[in-house]
């Protein structure tokens, strides 16, 4: 390997920072599309950690799990965006704070 002094803790820090940025976006933003993008960012942080641990442990199972996470992310994006388009048709808004009609 080219990088001799690069151990796994740096990848752990990097993916933790990415995950926290995604969480901040989910809490802070109002546009539902940007919210979905922040969720994708969090999923990618987890993917990066899975891959790093898989390569450093010499076990391919972690990378298989990354495939399944990608499948779930793609399905979630497709269905979520379809729901968003339908919500936009009915309300002309994608603001999540507007969508509290189900509140009891």
């Amino acid at each position: 390997m080219i990088f001799q002094n690069l151990d796994i803790s740096h990848y752990i820090y990097l993916s933790t920072v990415l995950f926290s940025i995604g969480l901040f976006g989910v809490l802070f933003r109002r546009n539902a599309i940007v919210l979905l993008m922040c969720i994708e960012l969090m999923l990618n942080a987890v993917n990066l950690l899975f891959t790093a641990l898989s390569t450093y442990m010499g076990d391919a199972d972690g990378q298989i799990f990354v495939f399944f996470i990608m499948v779930v992310a793609a399905a979630e994006a497709a269905v979520g965006l379809a729901i968003l388009v339908m919500v936009y048709r009915n309300t002309r808004k994608t603001d999540v704070s507007f969508l509290d009609q189900l509140k009891g």
Partner: protein, 173 residues
């Protein structure tokens, strides 16, 4: 902490984090999508550094190629490429930043000893198609088929949700 790290890793990591921050803070959703695509490219570069070459390509094809195009398409369709989003108050931003920072702190503390049982360097050869395919088509065959069924269900659901009602000729209802 940073001075004995390899330069490519440092540059790539800072680029990744900057792009991710721009995704979250940008007012224009189109800029967010483009920054997220850049983030995915740099994460793919990280996969190459980690000897996960096949995952790097799959990440580019699936995320940057398919999912982000879907996002961009919906943004263009809904005509949201303007600063239409009402800003939340500063208090809300501070609360979100404190929550995310606390999560960062907790996960970092919990992962302090996570690197003790692993090797010092990435192992070569397990990120190639041969090793991954052998694992995927033997031990993980059932989850693999189930994910195919999940994709089919998601596709049918998305088409059903996205179909406009009868008699409504306008594109967006």
């Amino acid at each position: 902490m940073f001075n004995n790290l390899p330069i490519p890793f440092l540059v790539l990591s800072f680029f990744t984090i900057l792009c991710a921050l721009y995704v979250v803070t940008s007012k224009n959703p189109i800029h967010s999508v483009l920054a997220l695509i850049l983030t995915f490219f740099s994460i793919s570069a990280h996969y190459v550094l980690l000897n996960a070459q096949f995952l790097a390509i799959v990440n580019l094809i699936v995320y940057a190629g398919a999912i982000m195009v879907l996002f961009l398409f919906v943004l263009m369709l809904l005509n949201l490429n303007k600063d239409a989003e009402p800003v939340k108050s500063n208090l809300w931003g501070i609360a979100a930043a404190v929550s995310a920072g606390l999560l960062l702190l907790v996960i970092t503390a919990a992962f302090q000893k996570a690197g003790e049982n692993v090797m010092k360097h990435p192992v070569e050869g397990i990120g190639l198609v041969k090793a991954l395919g052998q694992s995927l088509f033997t031990r993980f065959l059932v989850p693999f088929e189930l994910s195919g069924a999940l994709f089919l269900a998601a596709m049918v659901g998305a088409v059903l949700l996205g179909k406009r009602d009868k008699g409504n000729k306008e594109l967006l209802g």
